[in-house]
C-alpha cells in the first residue's frame, strides 16, 4: 500500500488514543454492569416476592407421629374389642390436651378426670370430681377452658379444665430434670403438684399442671339432662339444656365481677322454659346456642332444625323458623358442631356429607326476626358416616373422623379439604416399629374422638382402643386461589362477595382475603386521575409547543415541571384536609364548572375573532392573557349556576339526590350524556355544517364579519341542541326505569374518587406534560414548515402532522403517567378514604393495593397468612405495572417504527 498524502496535508491519526480506548472500555463495562445489575435487581425483587408468596399455596401437612397404648382408654372397657356389649359404663365424654401437647385429660361418665402423658399414654393422676350422679352431657365454650357438665340429677355444673404454666427456677429443679435436652419433657412432682416438666429451647423449666375446678351445681330439671349447650357473649353466660322428658330451659346469666377479690360469679337474669314434643317418637338430638347469644337451634336426628330467638326471653320461647338440614331423606344427622366463633355450624350426616350453616339477616325473610338460616358451603364428602368432630380453637378449621377410620380436615370458609388420611393399620404399621405386628388386624375402627390441639399443630384421635397422634401444619388454608380472586360466602353475609378484611383484635374473626376490591381500587384511582390529568396534560403540551410563542413557552414549561417537585404526601395532605371538605361544600358548582369553563373558553376564543384584524395583530401577545381571563369569568358563572344546577338537575339538594332520597335519574343521565352530545354535535358540525359554510365563504357569499357572526350563531344553536338532546335521552332512559345512581353516582362521601382524581391528576400532569412536550418538540421542523407552506393552518398542522408524528412519545408519556398513578400511595392513602369497596361511584372512596400495603404491613405478624397476602398484593402491583409498561413499550416501538419511515 503506498503512502498517499492526505488532501489536507496533515496525516490523520489512525490509531485510537489510549485514553479514549480506556474511557471506551470503562464505560462499556460500567454500562453493561449497570444494565445487567438493573435486570438482576428487578428480577431479585420479583423472586423475593414470589418466595414469600409461594408458601400461601402449599398444601397443609398431616403426618403420623405415634400410636400409644392408652391405659386410660381401658376404662372404656374395650380390652376385648370384639366384645358385643361394650356400651360400657364409663365412656370417654370429653378429652383435651394442653397447648404444648404434654399432658392430656379425659373425663368419663362417672365424673372422673384422668390426666395422662401425651407422648407415652401413661396416666398421671386420677381425680374424682365427686359429682352425685353420672354425667349425661358435657359442653364447652370454644376458646375457653370452661366446660359445663350435666348429670342424671338434672343439675349443671361449671368445670374449669385449666392448665397452669409455671417456670421453675433452674437451681430448684432436680438433677434428672436438668439433664433434659431442650424440648424434652418428663413427669415431675413438686411438693404440691404433679405435672409435666419441659425444658424449653431457651433452657427454662416449664411446669404444666392440670387444675380442675368444679363450681356450684345449678338446678335445671328433676329429670336427667340430655342435651346441654353454652355460650358466652360479652359479659353474659347462656346455658340451654333439655331434659330426657323434653323440657327445654334457656337461662341467661349476667357476669358479676368483684374488683376486690377478682372473682367472678354468674347471676341469673332471664330464663324461659318450653316442652318440646317428640317427632317420630324421638326427642331432638342436638342443641346449639350461638356465640352472639341470640339464637338457639334445636335439631332432630332426621335433619329438622327449629330455631329460637333467645335475645329476649321474657316473651317465652317461640320458634322463629324451621328448616330441613338434610336434603337426602335416607340420611341422618350424625354430628352437628360449631366452628370457632359459634356462628357457623357444620352438619355432618350418615352419608358423609358436610354442610355449613349460619344465619343471615334478610329483610324479605318470612320469619318474625327477619333472619334466616342458609347453607353456605358444601364440603367434599368423607364417603362414610361421620363419627367424630373437632373444631379448631384458633382458626376456622375443623376435622371430622369417619366410620372407616378416615380423618379429614377442612377449612370452613373456603370449603376446601386440607388433608385426609386413613387411620388404617397399614399406615400405622409402616411408621411404628414392626413390634406391633399384625395385632391391629385389618379391621377399620370408627374414630370415636378427635381433637385438634390448641395451637392447631397436632391432631389426636381415639378409635376404639387406639390412641393415635398426628402432627399437623395447616400452613395458610384461608388463602386459596379461589378465595383470593373469586367471591366467597362469608359468615353472616347475605351472599357471595369479594371482601378484604384482614384482621381484627379477636381470634375468632373470619379473615377475608379477597384481593379484588384492592385491585379494583387501584384501577379506579388510576382511571379517574387519568380521566382528569391525561387530557389536560396532553392538550397543554400541544398548546405550548405548537401555539405559544417561544418566549412564553420557556417560562411555562419549568413552571409546570415545578409542580412535580411537590411531594405526594403534601398533595395528599392538602387533598384530605383542605380540598375534600371544600369540594363537598361546592360540589354542584364544580359540576357546573366542568361545563361552564370550556364553554367560556370557547366563547372567549370566539370573541377574539371579533376583534378587527389590525388590532388583533397588535394585541396578539395578549391573547393568552385574554383567554386566561376566561377562567375567572367561567368560575364566577359556574358559582352562579351552581344553585341552578342543584335545583334543576338534582332536585334541590345534591347530597340527598345522590343518596337516592329525592328526584329521579333524569338529571344524572342528562349530565352523563351532555359531554357525549357535545361531541356528537361537534362531529355533525365538522362533517356537514362546516364544509357547507366553508364553501359559501369561498364563493364570497358571506363577508368575513358575517361569517364570524354566523359561526357564533351556529355554536349557540348547537349548544342548545345538545342540551335538548341529552335531556331527551335522559328522559327516555328514566322512563325505562334506569337510574345512574348506584352505577356511576351514589351516596356522597367526603373522601372520594373525584377528590383523588383531581389531586392525583395534578400529580401526574407535570410528568405527562414534560415528556409529551419533549416528544412534540422532537418532531422535525421541516414537517411543520412543509405543512404550513402548503397552506394548512396552525391547528391543522398540529393535529394532522405534528401529533401523529409524535404519537410514540405522547403514548409513552401517558403510560409513564399511568404507571405513576397505579403505584401512587400517599395521595390515595390520605384522600381516598381507604374503604375496600367495589363501586364505580365517583363520590365514594376506595382502597388501592399500594395504600393497603402501607396501612397493614406494620401490623402483619411476620410469615402469617396476612403478611404473605400483603406480599401477594405487592406482587400483583408489580405484575400490573409490568404489564402496563410492557404494552406501552410494544406500542411505542410500533409507532416509532412508523415514524422512522417518514
Amino acid at each position: 500500500m503506498t503512502d498517499q498524502k492526505p488532501f489536507t496535508g496533515r496525516s490523520r491519526q489512525r490509531r485510537t488514543r489510549w485514553a479514549v480506548a480506556l474511557g471506551d472500555t470503562v464505560s462499556r463495562v460500567l454500562i453493561t454492569v449497570g444494565g445487567i445489575g438493573t435486570i438482576v435487581a428487578v428480577s431479585t425483587v420479583f423472586v423475593f416476592l414470589l418466595w414469600v408468596v409461594i408458601p400461601l399455596f402449599l398444601p397443609a401437612h398431616l403426618g403420623f407421629i405415634r400410636e400409644v397404648p392408652g391405659a386410660w382408654i381401658a376404662n372404656n372397657g374395650t380390652e376385648d374389642a370384639a366384645g358385643a356389649t361394650e356400651t360400657d359404663a364409663n365412656p370417654v365424654l370429653e378429652f383435651g390436651v394442653d397447648e404444648f401437647q404434654t399432658t392430656g385429660w379425659v373425663l368419663d361418665a362417672r365424673g372422673v378426670v384422668t390426666s395422662f402423658e401425651v407422648k407415652t399414654g401413661q396416666s398421671l393422676t386420677e381425680q374424682d370430681l365427686e359429682l352425685e350422679s353420672p354425667l349425661t352431657a358435657v359442653t364447652s365454650v370454644p376458646g375457653f377452658s370452661v366446660h359445663y357438665l350435666a348429670g342424671e340429677d338434672g343439675k349443671v355444673r361449671e368445670a374449669d379444665f385449666g392448665f397452669a404454666t409455671d417456670f421453675l427456677p433452674s437451681d430448684d429443679v432436680s438433677d434428672e430434670a436438668r439433664a433434659l435436652a431442650p424440648e424434652q419433657m418428663m413427669l415431675y412432682e413438686t411438693e404440691d403438684d404433679v405435672g409435666m416438666l419441659q425444658k424449653t429451647t431457651q433452657g427454662q423449666y416449664r411446669f404444666q399442671t392440670l387444675n380442675v375446678e368444679v363450681g356450684e351445681a345449678m338446678e335445671f330439671f328433676t329429670a336427667p339432662v340430655r342435651l346441654l349447650t353454652a355460650s358466652m357473649p360479652g359479659n353474659e353466660l347462656i346455658l340451654a339444656a333439655m331434659s330426657a322428658e323434653g323440657e327445654l330451659t334457656v337461662r341467661r346469666h349476667a357476669k358479676r365481677e368483684n374488683l376486690l377479690t377478682g372473682t367472678t360469679s354468674w347471676e341469673e337474669s332471664d330464663s324461659a322454659t318450653l316442652t318440646i314434643e317428640k317427632r317420630n317418637g324421638s326427642l331432638p338430638k342436638h342443641l346449639l346456642a350461638t356465640g352472639a347469644g341470640d339464637q338457639l337451634f334445636v335439631i332432630w336426628e332426621d335433619g329438622l332444625l327449629r330455631r329460637f330467638n333467645i335475645r329476649r326471653l321474657a316473651k317465652g320461647l317461640v320458634a322463629a323458623e324451621e328448616i330441613d338440614l338434610l336434603p337426602a331423606a335416607e340420611a341422618h344427622l350424625s354430628h352437628v358442631g360449631f366452628i370457632l366463633g359459634q356462628n357457623t355450624f357444620i352438619a355432618a350426616d350418615t352419608q358423609g356429607e358436610l354442610r355449613s350453616w349460619f344465619s343471615v339477616r334478610d329483610a324479605q325473610a318470612a320469619t318474625p326476626d327477619k333472619t334466616t338460616l342458609v347453607s353456605a358451603q358444601t364440603y367434599p364428602p368423607t364417603g362414610s358416616p361421620v363419627t367424630a368432630f373437632s373444631a379448631s380453637s384458633r382458626s376456622r378449621i375443623f376435622a371430622v373422623g369417619s366410620d372407616d377410620s378416615r380423618i379429614s380436615i377442612y377449612q370452613a370458609t373456603t370449603g376446601s379439604r386440607l388433608a385426609s388420611k386413613l387411620l388404617s393399620a397399614d399406615s400405622v404399621k409402616k411408621s411404628t416399629a414392626p413390634t406391633s405386628g399384625a395385632s391391629n388386624g385389618e379391621k377399620r375402627q370408627p374414630i370415636t374422638h378427635l381433637l385438634l390441639t390448641p395451637k392447631d399443630d397436632g391432631l389426636i384421635s381415639i378409635a376404639g382402643d387406639r390412641f393415635v397422634q398426628f402432627a399437623f401444619d395447616p400452613r395458610h388454608p384461608e388463602a386459596t386461589f379461589t378465595s383470593i380472586f373469586r367471591p366467597l360466602w362469608y359468615e353472616s353475609y347475605p351472599e357471595e362477595e369479594h371482601v378484604w378484611q384482614s384482621s381484627g383484635a379477636n381470634q375468632d374473626l373470619e379473615p377475608k382475603f379477597g384481593l379484588m376490591p384492592l385491585i379494583f381500587g387501584s384501577l379506579k384511582a388510576t382511571l379517574y386521575s387519568m380521566l382528569i390529568g391525561a387530557p389536560l396534560a396532553l392538550l397543554a403540551a400541544i398548546y405550548t409547543s405548537e401555539f405559544l410563542t417561544p418566549s412564553l413557552r420557556v417560562k411555562v414549561k419549568p413552571t409546570i415541571e415545578l409542580m412535580a417537585s411537590l411531594p405526594s404526601v403534601v398533595l395528599g395532605f392538602l387533598a384530605a384536609l383542605v380540598f375534600a371538605p371544600f369540594v363537598e361544600e361546592v360540589i354542584s358548582t364544580i359540576i357546573a364548572g366542568a361545563f361552564c369553563l370550556p364553554i367560556c373558553m370557547l366563547a372567549g376564543a370566539f370573541l377574539w375573532q371579533l376583534i378587527p384584524e389590525p388590532w388583533s395583530v397588535i394585541l396578539a401577545r395578549w391573547r393568552l392573557a385574554f383567554i386566561a381571563l376566561c377562567i375567572p369569568i367561567g368560575m364566577s358563572v359556574s358559582t352562579l349556576l351552581g344553585p341552578v344546577v342543584d335545583n334543576v338537575v338534582f332536585a334541590g339538594d345534591m347530597h340527598r339526590w345522590l343518596d337516592g332520597q329525592i328526584g329521579t335519574g333524569t338529571g344524572g343521565w342528562f349530565l352523563l350524556f351532555l359531554p357525549l352530545s357535545f361531541i356528537g354535535m361537534g362531529v355533525i358540525s365538522s362533517r356537514w355544517i362546516n364544509p357547507w359554510m366553508r364553501e359559501r365563504s369561498h364563493r364570497r357569499l358571506w363577508s368575513g364579519k358575517r361569517f364570524i357572526v354566523i359561526d357564533g350563531v351556529k355554536f349557540a344553536l348547537l349548544g342548545v341542541v345538545s342540551l335538548l338532546a341529552s335531556w331527551l335521552i335522559a328522559l327516555g332512559l328514566n322512563a325505562f326505569g334506569l337510574d345512574p345512581r348506584g352505577i356511576f353516582f351514589g351516596t356522597y362521601v367526603q373522601r372520594n374518587a373525584l377528590v383523588v382524581g383531581f389531586v392525583m391528576g395534578f400529580a401526574i400532569i407535570p410528568i405527562i406534560y414534560t415528556i409529551a412536550d419533549d416528544a412534540l418538540a422532537a418532531v422535525p421542523e421541516h414537517l411543520r414548515s412543509a405543512s404550513l407552506g402548503a397552506g394548512a393552518t396552525q391547528w391543522q398542522t398540529a393535529v394532522r402532522i405534528v401529533v401523529p408524528a409524535a404519537t410514540s412519545g405522547l403514548f409513552s408519556a401517558l403510560m409513564i403517567g399511568l404507571g405513576r398513578a397505579v403505584g401512587e400511595t400517599m395521595i390515595v392513602l390520605m384522600a381516598g378514604g381507604n374503604t375496600p369497596v367495589m363501586d364505580w361511584n365517583v363520590f365514594n372512596g376506595f382502597r388501592t393495593l399500594s395504600a393497603n400495603i402501607a396501612v397493614e404491613l406494620p401490623e402483619a405478624v411476620r410469615n402469617s397468612t396476612h403478611y404473605r397476602m400483603l406480599f401477594l398484593a405487592a406482587l400483583s402491583l408489580f405484575i400490573l405495572t409490568f404489564i402496563v409498561n410492557t404494552i406501552a413499550e410494544l406500542v411505542r416501538i410500533r409507532f416509532r417504527r412508523r415514524i422512522v419511515e417518514l
Partner: protein, 340 residues
C-alpha cells in the same frame, strides 16, 4: 415506607395540635396511696417503645417525666397501632410495647416460640373508648345497639334496622336527611379491635367506614365533617368534638364517658391501656425497665395519665402490676414453687 408513614404520623400529630387543645378534666385525682417516685442509680440507655397510637402521647409524657430524673436516658417512641407492639417485642427492637388491646393467640405463640415464656402485660391506666360526633351535633346520646347499627353491617347487638341517616336517630331539620359519615381506625389499631369486639359484638364494620391512620386523624375528620361520627380514646378529646354518653341497652340510662363511670364500671366501653414487657420469669429486670415501670406506677406517672385525659389506676392495681414483673417493694419476687 416506614419513613413515609412516620411522616404521615408527624403530620397528623401537628394537625392534631393545630386543631384543638386537649381538654384536661380537672376533677380526676390520683390515688394518694401511690408511691412517690424516687430516682435510683445506674439507669442509662434508650427507652424504645413501639405500639399503640392511643397511648402515644401518654408514653411521651411518661418519657419526659422520666427524663427529668435521668437526663442521659434517650427516648424513642413510635405509635402506629397496637399490632406493631408484639412484633417489635419479639424482634427485640423495643423495650416496651404499649397496647390498647390484649395479645392475640398467634402473637403469644410467636413470642413463646422465641423466648419460651409468655409476655407480661401490665395495665397502666384506663381508657374510655368514646364515640365522637361533631360539636354541633344535637344528639343526646346513643345506646350500644344503635352504635352497632351505625357502624356494623351485621348488627350483632340486635338493633332492628340499619342506621345510615341522622334522621333515623331522631334528629330534625338539616340533620334529618343527612347521611351519617363514618370514621374509624385502621385495623392495626387495638382501638379498632376493641370497638369491633365490644361495640359491634364482633360484627364486621361497614365498608363505608373511612379508616384513619391515627386517633388524632379521626378526631380531626369528625371536626371537619359536620355529619361525622367516629371513635377514639378519651385522651384525644378536643373542644371541637363531643364524646357521646352511651347506654348499654336500648332505652337505658346514658352514661357520660367520665372517670367516675370508669371506676364504677357503668361506662360500657372502658378498657385498660397496657404495657407489654419481655420479662423472663424469676429474673431481675434491668435497671432501665425497672425504674421506668416504677415511674409509670408512681404518683408522678399516674398524674401524667390524668394530664393526657385518661384515668389513673389505684395503688393496689399498681402494686399488683409491679409484682408481675418481679418488682415488689424493691425486691425480686421469691420463687413460688420449690423442689420436692
Amino acid at each position: 415506607m416506614t419513613a413515609t408513614l412516620r411522616m404521615l404520623g408527624i403530620g397528623l400529630l401537628v394537625v392534631g395540635w393545630m386543631w384543638g387543645t386537649s381538654e384536661v378534666s380537672g376533677q380526676v385525682v390520683v390515688d394518694p396511696n401511690l408511691p412517690t417516685y424516687k430516682p435510683a442509680t445506674g439507669v442509662s440507655g434508650t427507652i424504645k417503645s413501639v405500639g399503640s397510637d392511643t397511648m402515644n402521647n401518654l408514653m411521651t409524657i411518661w418519657a419526659e417525666g422520666f427524663n427529668k430524673f435521668y437526663p442521659n436516658v434517650k427516648v424513642e417512641i413510635e405509635g402506629k397501632g397496637s399490632a406493631t407492639a408484639p412484633t417489635a417485642l419479639i424482634e427485640g427492637t423495643a423495650l416496651f410495647g404499649p397496647m390498647s388491646r390484649d395479645w392475640k393467640k398467634d402473637e403469644i405463640d410467636a413470642f413463646q416460640k422465641k423466648f419460651g415464656y409468655e409476655p407480661v402485660t401490665v395495665a397502666t391506666s384506663i381508657d374510655l373508648l368514646a364515640v365522637y360526633v361533631n360539636k354541633d351535633n344535637p344528639i343526646e346520646g346513643m345506646s350500644l345497639p344503635q352504635v352497632d347499627a351505625i357502624f356494623s353491617k351485621n348488627r350483632n347487638l340486635g338493633y332492628a334496622d340499619d342506621l345510615s341517616m341522622w334522621g333515623e336517630l331522631g334528629l330534625k331539620g338539616d340533620w334529618a336527611n343527612a347521611p351519617i359519615s363514618l370514621y374509624g381506625r385502621n385495623s392495626a389499631s387495638g382501638t379498632y379491635g376493641y370497638f369491633k369486639e365490644h361495640a359491634l359484638g364482633k360484627g364486621d364494620f361497614k365498608d363505608s367506614v373511612k379508616e384513619q391512620a391515627g386517633s388524632s386523624a379521626v378526631i380531626q375528620a369528625v371536626t371537619a365533617d359536620k355529619f361525622a361520627i367516629g371513635y377514639s380514646g378519651i385522651g384525644y378529646r378536643t373542644a371541637d368534638v363531643r364524646a357521646l354518653p352511651l347506654s348499654n341497652k336500648e332505652g337505658g340510662e346514658f352514661i357520660e364517658p367520665e372517670s367516675e363511670n370508669a371506676y364504677n364500671g357503668t361506662y360500657p366501653l372502658a378498657r385498660g391501656l397496657i404495657l407489654s414487657v419481655n420479662y423472663k420469669p424469676n429474673s431481675k429486670l434491668d435497671p432501665l425497665r425497672r425504674e421506668f415501670l416504677k415511674y409509670v406506677f408512681s404518683k408522678q406517672g399516674q398524674q401524667g395519665v390524668v394530664k393526657d385525659g385518661y384515668i389513673p389506676v389505684t395503688a393496689a392495681v399498681a402494686e399488683k402490676a409491679l409484682s408481675r414483673v418481679g418488682i415488689a417493694a424493691g425486691a425480686v419476687k421469691k420463687k413460688t414453687k420449690t423442689k420436692k
